[in-house]
Amino acid sequence: MDISQQIVESLARNNVEFVTTVPCKQLGGVIEGVEAHPDIMHVPSNKEDEGMGLCAGAWMGGKRPCIIMQNTALGVTVNTLATLIQYYQMPLPMLISYRGELGERVACQVEMAVHTKALLDQLTIQTYHFHQPSDVEEMDTILNHTFMSRKPTAILTDSNFWGGY
């Protein structure tokens, strides 16, 4: 099973039933997987702060949510993350494509990469960095921890994890 499919299976195994996404090439396999999975509702959004609202609403309605996004999106989600997800203490796994790391070919992507961990740290968001394909084995534990702690969790998946650009 490839790592995209392993991630989708982990989401389903942990009763994540509501996933919102904004397109990403690296996360494309995961996005296709959640779209196809019979137990997961997939709601594409235009912008990641929409996704924060969607996930908050899904949690209020009793569904375990997840947002799939790029690290550049941290810049547009800070307010909704802080004043919606964190203010109400909602659990939210954020599966993030960590663009701008080693191997990146688009220089502009590096500008958000250098802020990514600092922003997450400043927001006191629990952060895990997947660098080797075998790191995917931690998905179950991270999801369980996220819903136990009722806090957002960032899972940064870099280019090396995905096998290069």
Binding site: F18, V43, P44, N46, D49, M60, L84
Partner: protein, 196 residues
């Protein structure tokens, strides 16, 4: 741009009229005056008040409506809050939630920041934007008679529906609901989902 008419409706009377028929409605209120309006009618466990997340009320309502397809969900928010997340109307229209209604309490002002004019004061037509996104049912309300006609649309018509109620910008006393986020969240979820 829509024809502009004289605005006379009192927002508190509008919200009280809408919520009179609430039944088992799940209500999401956008931050600012719509939250105070809902609290002034009655603090209810089926109210989820947003104290933050500016621009996120409609999306929160969409997530809730999709998670609870058998319950009617109403998002009541202001014109400024709606304008900040207006792209979300496209996401709603694509999902076509039949149980979601959106009601804008539109005083054409940013009430929380000093009553500066929003773009609706200059003719921006929110129902037309919703219709453009794909909403089949939209309305603009200026009178109590029109409101009485719109209330069954909010509760019964297959959604998503979008109703913009033009209200006076006269100041109202601030009526604050509980403000502790986790308390509000738990109260709403326990009432909806049982012990969790």
């Amino acid at each position: 741009m829509a024809a502009r008419r004289k605005i006379t409706l009192d927002r508190r009377k509008v919200v009280a009229r809408i919520l009179k028929d609430r039944g088992d409605l799940l209500l999401v209120t956008g931050l600012g005056a719509p939250t105070w309006d809902a609290a002034a009618v009655e603090d209810h466990p089926n109210n989820f008040y947003l104290w933050g997340g500016m621009g996120g009320a409609v999306l929160t309502g969409l997530g809730l409506a999709l998670a609870q397809p058998k319950r009617r969900v109403l998002v009541m928010t202001g014109d400024g809050e709606m304008l900040m997340g207006v792209g979300g109307l496209a996401t709603v229209a694509v999902q076509k939630p039949s149980n979601l209604a959106i009601c804008i309490i539109d005083n054409q002002r940013y009430g929380e920041t000093g009553m500066q004019e929003t773009h609706t004061a200059h003719g921006v037509d929110l129902p037309a934007m919703a219709a453009g996104a794909g909403f089949q049912t939209t309305a603009t309300v200026y009178t109590m008679k029109e409101l009485n006609e719109a209330v069954p649309v909010l509760y019964e018509q297959s959604g998503p529906v979008f109703v913009d109620v033009k209200v006076s910008d006269a100041p109202q006393p601030m009526t604050l609901p509980p403000r502790d986020g986790p308390t509000l969240k738990h109260r709403f979820r326990e009432n909806l989902l049982g012990q969790i």
